[in-house]
């Protein structure tokens, strides 16, 4: 039986549900010191004085670090840039007296107990000199400008250049739709708090348990910032309690924990509290505009999509908001624009489906609007504009089974029972609405290394520094490795989440399975060759065998009717394990001719109370075309999670900025609303068959983000269908739907 394609439960599931899995703040460490962060109470200005005297008197307080006494060398901006740093100068904790955003860390109280550190932190008083700040995007639109370019631009290219003559085509089009779309800031808020436990191993050596999406990214950051040899910095992170992008960049608790450990030559743990998690990266607030033009027959001829997003004063974070429509709909006249406004906030950061979950709302709600104007079924409109060619890149897709998503999804959902007019369906006192939307996400792959080993007892070990941020990476990589050698899951061990293992990039962008999976395939290929070579030295039958002619099954290498066990090969190898490390990379030359993307279609039913406007997402289905699905169970969970988040995004989630105070005011789970069980009803996921022979060895595309792009607009569209009200501001509040 092959392991790929089996719905195998997470291998670490039991450890997690029994509490045996250790997260970065849970390692028992003797003589541990605890650090508690003091956050800036102002938004912009200078620190005049930090009064630490009363905190120092608290029993157990060891040291209080501020910008005045932080251990320092000549520190350069560049050294703070991590693998995911946008153009600009990365934030440097405790660097000087300047305050750049509210909640900025300004001191670290280190104590023998967590409680003493926290009490000390609460006693610190700070004198500030405040200056005027700007945190409101809407009142600063005049400052909108282009983003600076940098390394990050490689993965996130600017929007495609204009084609044709948009203004003319739009003016002349038979049918037009346009809209303004407003999205609030969102914070990742993974369940696990951000914690770093730094073990001071002596002789300049550190072992760091960190909450991160990239062990090597953190290792490089710590090495660069503190001038340490990379080999002396080990970052370990086998279990991560969610991250959603917030762990793509080293957060300031890592810096502070390492700084204190090096200075005090002790083990130090720094944990941020929930409200402090609202002080770092976030999904930026955005304002988008669309204008789409179509012919009588429903052909889209003109596409215009613009967006303005916030960034900080020190980095130009961008996400691709307006790149998507021409990847989906082949219009000849296009005009796209993306601008930034610098505000006095921390830099935004990738948050699950960055840009896509923002831009697709505007695109797919505008498409919906057109469908009503034309009186064409929204699904039919998508089919009229269907193309397997990516008009933005002028290349065909390596594969695109979106049509199957549309058709199978519509059938299973019961889309055809929809009556076309808004407000035409009801159930008791509820208006019922059906809405649909398309989703798209890049299918990326990066280079990575992996090691494959046949151990002395004939088992397979596979190694990569990659993390498993809760998505099932451990399980899926084990499946891939097992199939390479025809083994059972029990005979394979995957080692991961450790910077001393072979290189893997940060875990994000839905590229991990393709990236690390391919590296494992390459490492396995090399290992197979090595096994054959060794077998040839002892076994006559294999002398003439070519690697293409041998197969592997149940711990045996098989050639024609002869076989040799791994144990025998090990025996030949003087009882030593056989290991290979190899590089896996995308086939740049072959891929250059193709565009690559994952696609989805979501169908949603909502009920809206006629009188009060209360909204319930009663049913939803997302159909996904994502190449080969390694594990239908973990993949389904990914998409389900994205669907729950879609409900959150469309109806609940926002970090509320009080522009007078210059700060976010709902910094707790009581007030930062995400769905609870009672908000979740029937959710269904469908994977359509998509064989992609081009994209990589295994035909993998990735499913991490595509669940969160189509459904938010599908919800908004269903609400329109139910009520006749088009609300383009997310989250949609029910009172906007109240009967007048």
């Amino acid at each position: 039986m092959t392991q790929i394609g089996q719905p195998i439960s997470r291998l670490e599931g039991k450890l997690k549900v029994t509490g045996a899995a250790k997260y970065s703040g849970e390692y028992k460490v003797p003589n541990l010191l605890y650090g508690y962060v003091v956050s800036s109470a102002i938004t912009k200005g200078k620190i005049i004085k930090i009064h630490t005297e009363s905190a120092e008197k608290i029993k157990g307080v060891v040291k209080i670090f501020t910008h005045l006494n932080r251990p320092g060398k000549a520190w350069f901006d560049m050294q703070y840039a991590d693998m995911d740093a946008p153009p600009g100068a990365s934030f440097r904790p405790l660097h000087n007296d300047e305050i750049k955003f509210n909640g900025q860390p300004i001191a670290l109280v280190v104590a023998e107990t967590f409680e003493a550190a926290r009490e000390g932190a609460s006693m610190i008083k700070v004198d500030y000199q405040e200056t005027k700040f700007q945190t409101d995007l809407h009142s600063n639109l005049a400052a909108a400008r282009d983003a600076k370019k940098g390394m990050a631009t490689l993965l996130k290219p600017p929007p495609p250049k204009p084609t044709g003559d948009f203004e003319k085509a739009y003016a002349e089009s038979d049918f037009k739709a346009s809209g303004e779309f407003i999205h609030s800031t969102e914070h990742h808020n993974p369940m696990e708090l951000f914690t770093t436990t730094t073990l001071y191993d002596g002789k300049g050596k550190l072992t760091i348990y960190d909450k991160t999406q990239g062990t090597i990214n953190c290792q490089l950051y710590v090495g660069n910032v503190f001038g340490l040899h990379f080999k002396n910095v080990r970052v370990v992170s086998p279990f991560v309690g969610g991250a959603f992008g917030s762990g793509l960049r080293p957060q300031y608790q890592l810096f502070l924990s390492v700084m204190a450990a090096l200075d005090l030559k002790r083990h130090v743990r720094v944990t941020l509290d929930r409200s402090q998690m609202f002080s770092f990266g976030h999904r930026p607030q955005t304002i988008q505009h669309t204008r789409f033009g179509a012919t009588q027959e429903g052909k889209i001829t003109a596409l215009n999509h613009t967006s303005v997003a916030e960034t900080s004063q020190f980095e130009d974070y961008t996400e691709n908001v307006t790149n998507w429509s021409s990847m989906m709909y082949p219009a000849d006249n296009t005009l796209f624009e993306q601008k930034l406004v610098s505000l006095d906030v921390n830099s935004p950061m990738d948050m699950r489906a960055p840009g896509g979950s923002t831009g697709l709302h505007a695109i797919e709600a505008t498409m919906d609007e057109i469908s009503y104007k034309l009186n064409i079924d929204p699904l039919e409109l998508r089919l009229i504009n269907y193309s397997t060619f990516n008009n933005a890149e002028k290349k065909p897709y390596s594969s695109k089974e979106l049509k199957a998503c549309y058709l199978q999804g519509a059938e299973k959902f019961g889309w055809y029972k929809r009556s076309p007019q808004p407000r035409s369906m009801s159930r008791g006192q509820k208006l019922v609405g059906y809405g649909m939307a398309t989703g798209i996400w890049d299918a990326m792959q990066l280079p990575a290394r992996a090691e494959a080993i046949i151990t002395k007892d004939g088992k397979l070990h596979v190694k990569s520094a990659v993390t498993d941020i809760g998505v099932g990476t451990l399980t899926v990589m084990t499946q891939i490795a097992a199939d390479e050698f025809g083994l059972n899951m029990e005979d394979v061990l995957f080692f991961y989440g450790d910077s001393k293992l072979p290189f893997a990039p940060i875990q994000g962008g839905s590229f991990t399975t393709a990236t690390v999976g391919t590296a494992i395939v390459f490492a396995s290929k090399a290992l197979k060759k090595k096994l054959l070579k060794i077998a040839k030295t002892s076994n006559e039958a294999f002398k003439k065998a070519e690697i293409e002619e041998v197969t592997f099954k149940n711990g045996m290498m098989i050639y024609k009717d002869c076989s040799i066990s791994f144990l025998e090969i090990i025996n030949t190898n003087k009882d030593k394990p056989i290991r290979t490390t190899n590089f896996g990379y995308p086939h740049a030359l072959k891929l250059r001719k193709y565009a690559r993307a994952v696609h989805s279609a979501s169908f949603v039913e909502v009920e809206v109370d006629q009188e009060l406007g209360t909204i319930k997402v009663t049913r939803a289905l997302t159909a996904v075309a994502a190449g080969r699905i390694i594990n239908p169970k973990t993949a389904r969970s990914q998409v389900l999670g994205g669907m729950v988040w879609s409900i959150s995004k469309a109806l609940m989630e926002e970090t509320i900025m009080d522009a007078q105070l210059g700060k976010y005011i709902n910094q707790s789970f009581a007030e930062y609303h995400i769905p609870v069980h009672a908000d979740i009803n029937e959710l269904d996921v469908l994977f359509v068959q998509e064989d992609d022979k081009i994209i990589n060895e295994l035909g993998i595309k990735g499913v991490g983000e595509v669940g969160l792009v189509a459904m938010p607009p599908a919800i908004a569209n269903a609400i329109y269908h139910a009520t006749g009200k088009r609300i383009n501001r997310f989250p949609i509040h029910f009172d906007e739907l109240m009967e007048s």
Partner: protein, 332 residues
Amino acid sequence: MNNFDYQKAATVSDVVGKSTFVAGGTNLIDLLKYNLTNAATLIDINTIGEHHDILEIEDGVRLGALATNADTAYHPIIEQRYPLLSRAILAGASAQIRNMATNGGNLLQRTRCYYFYDPHAPCNKRLPGSGCSAINGYNRNMAILGTSENCIAVFPSDMSIALSALDAIINIKSEDGERSVDFADFHRLPGDTPPIDNNLKPGEFITSIDLPLKGFAKNYSYLKLRDRASYAFALVSVATGLELDGDTIRDVRITLGGVSHKPWRVKDAEHYLIGKKADRENFSAAADIILQGAVGFAHNTFKIKLAKKAIVRNCMMALDPSTQLPGAQPSA
């Protein structure tokens, strides 16, 4: 959060005149963690031997102040004779919190105003004279009735909305003896003294809450409107109890929640309804009386219209309580 002493109390006389009491801790511990309250000593009142029960008394039922919200809501007497109270409690917080939260603590929980919980934001309730950030700030979940220029916060309890409608009585013990307060006189409007939520004096201890015999078990409903289906405070909530004679209203109680610094009950509206037909039109007229003087702010004017619709809907739901859905959501 500061270091504090912790004591377990055995009797009520151990605790009267002292501070700070901790019951379920579901509100107090948060306030301590956010440095909004500093306690030198926490006195655990859960270890007091009495006031944990729901008891039948001569003219009603007595809810021990130390009984948990969950035990109260699921108690057969409450479910059968005061289902309005049971519904309201179960519409609040989460199962975990209700398992910890006590009846006494519920009446004394503090507002959920964003700015109150932020030690650096101006707030007259937290720091008198510092100003009110909510009036010109983000005020979606703030009050529309009984506000003052000093504070527009809402008292967030669901349980109290039902207790108000049921004419409950609060029994209090102090160093000077015992006293009882009508529910209507317990919570206060912010006026010039936003820090003071209610008329419990420092050192006083709530022993129990008495429910009069009339429980409106036949015609009642609790409706709670909010941005998610559970585990969120009310933007608007309504408790209705009706006593009907055919389709004529013999007695009625309507209390609004989520709109004021105290449960909002207007007796004039109830008098207006008595003797009238139980229909939308009359409920709508009563709603207008209840909402007289309502004033909205930048983000919460919708509450005025919403409250009106909610009152009417909930009164209609009370005509047939079987239309009520879990989580006090609007009927299907």
